[in-house]
């Protein structure tokens, strides 16, 4: 019922959803961010050509600006290509991959010269709102922002864990062409311990330190985060050790 209502509302507002494969990116001094392109799935499935996969990678920075476009071609189904993402602006954002003949997952890795951590991207969509809808959202969003609120169109729940020796950051990706105001509420044992409203430009991203949202009170504190935005968004989790973002990092997708 709710799904139908959402679909109907999107139609009324003229919202278009363009299928998009995206991955997060994050660069720090001494830390490379690499997308690992592959077409290995075609080796094991029928009906998909295994040869000559052309891919175009478009890298968006945290403010939604295109910072690079790169092309790569895979020779065959066992070929793999590493595409190094370009450090830019705040050092994070998302990258889209246009490769019409691939449906399998691609990897993004953070490599520190000794080891690396990796996760995969998502085949979802980017929402395109027509001008009038963008205008309405901008006005309503600006009215609600001083109250710390947003238009509650999408919500996600996420557990995060942090303490003195381990930090967690949430990389929020705005997968739409409107300004997305995302409200974060941290709860601990059912009690609210922190709130923040984050303004994310179209196709932009923001990195939120869970410790600054709700300081840890034990060696390992569990927070329940509820994120509510006025347009489609997704998130990745960044794990950091005692050196926080200056040290080695891990990266993880969530549903």
């Amino acid at each position: 019922m709710l799904k139908r209502l959402r679909t109907w509302t999107r139609g009324l507002l003229g919202v278009r959803r363009d299928p998009t494969y995206y991955l997060p990116w994050l660069t720090r001094p001494g830390l490379d961010c690499v997308v690992l392109l592959n077409n290995i799935e075609s080796r094991f499935t029928s009906g998909r050509q295994g040869r000559g996969l052309d891919a175009r990678l478009t890298q968006f920075d945290s403010d939604g600006r295109v910072t690079s476009e790169q092309h790569a071609t895979l020779v065959d189904s066992t070929d793999a290509r590493e595409v190094r993402l370009v450090p830019a602006a705040a050092g994070y954002g998302f990258v889209t991959v246009e490769a019409p003949r691939i449906k399998s997952d691609l990897y993004v890795a953070l490599a520190d010269g000794e080891t690396y951590t990796a996760t995969h991207g998502r085949h979802e969509f980017i929402e395109h709102y027509p001008a009038w809808t963008r205008g309405v959202l901008a006005v309503v969003g600006a009215l609600l922002a001083p109250l710390g609120l947003t238009v509650p169109v999408f919500a996600r729940d996420q557990y995060v864990y942090h303490g003195a020796a381990s930090r967690s950051h949430v990389l929020i990706l705005n997968l739409s062409n409107v300004v997305n105001r995302v409200r974060l509420v941290a709860e601990r044992n059912g009690a609210r311990v922190g709130t923040r409203l984050v303004r994310i430009p179209p196709r932009g991203a923001r990195l939120v330190d869970v410790g600054s949202l709700a300081p840890a009170t034990s060696a390992l504190t569990v927070e329940h985060l509820r994120l509510t935005g006025n347009a489609w968004f997704n998130l990745y989790l960044i794990g950091a050790g005692s050196e926080d973002l200056e040290g080695a990092l891990s990266l993880m997708h969530v549903k």
Binding site: I40, Y116, Y161, S242, V254
Partner: protein
């Protein structure tokens, strides 16, 4: 609520010395309506010997795996941890998911979030699979690594032993290692970083039925830097 319940079996591994938290249900909602009908945890040593078996309260949000299993893990080494859940398919139209968190005490390595491995549990329709789901693959970066990768694999069957074939690729070089696992037995198959001057590029895991499996990356001292699921393409 549906009158019929579905089942999900999922699995992870636990090593002593790690903070290890697992959420019981990822798809939490504010009213906490999305909860499992029941959940049972069992833990097995490398030979498949049962070391712990207990019902969990599905209303709990986060399970402290280390608090529960550090003591048997200290005595028996790494444990295969099996979650046997029952859930209402109307509450979880696809299936429940749950994620975990791992961090070794006093480690400078970052903590790892990971997706707990869903292993069918006898209900392939709930996981979108129409064929046997027993072939998985994973790719590696082409660069030197301090430490090594491995495949952690466990046999979740109740009665049947299984041969798990771990095939690693080093450009043109193919290396096969087969391990026989009794029910609930598990092991970690170490992957050589290089063979004949070629780096590890890909690994495949094949078995007659779905195994509990993770790709593991370890620093030279054994610290975990990667704990990730492989990819299945037969659905």
């Amino acid at each position: 609520m549906s009158s019929e319940l579905s089942a999900l079996m999922s699995a992870t591994f636990h090593e002593v010395g790690h903070a290890h938290l697992v959420e019981l249900v990822h798809q939490k909602d504010r009213a906490a309506r999305r909860r499992l009908a029941s959940l049972r945890l069992s833990a097995y040593d490398a030979d498949g010997g049962l070391q712990l078996d207990r019902a969990l309260d599905p209303a709990e949000e986060i399970l402290d795996v280390a608090a529960l299993l550090d003591e048997p893990a200290r005595r028996h080494g790494r444990l295969l941890v099996v979650f046997d859940a029952r859930y209402d398919p109307e509450v979880f139209p696809y299936r429940p998911h749950h994620y975990g968190y791992l961090h070794r005490a006093e480690s400078t390595a970052p903590p790892l979030y990971y997706a707990v491995n869903a292993t069918l549990g006898g209900v392939p329709d709930r996981i979108g699979a129409v064929a046997l789901n027993n072939f998985e693959t994973y790719l590696f970066l082409d660069r030197p690594m301090s430490g090594h990768h491995a495949v952690a694999v466990g046999n979740l069957s109740r009665f049947a032993p299984a041969d798990a074939e771990v095939v690693s690729y080093y450009d043109g070089i193919r290396h096969v290692e087969t391990v026989r696992l009794m029910p609930k037995a598990h092991t970690e198959v170490k992957l050589a970083p290089e063979r004949e001057g070629h780096r590890l590029r890909r690994v495949e895991l094949k078995a007659l039925f779905r195994m509990a499996s993770y790709v593991v990356g370890r620093r030279a001292g054994g610290e975990l830097v990667l704990f990730d699921h492989l990819f299945t393409y037969f659905k």
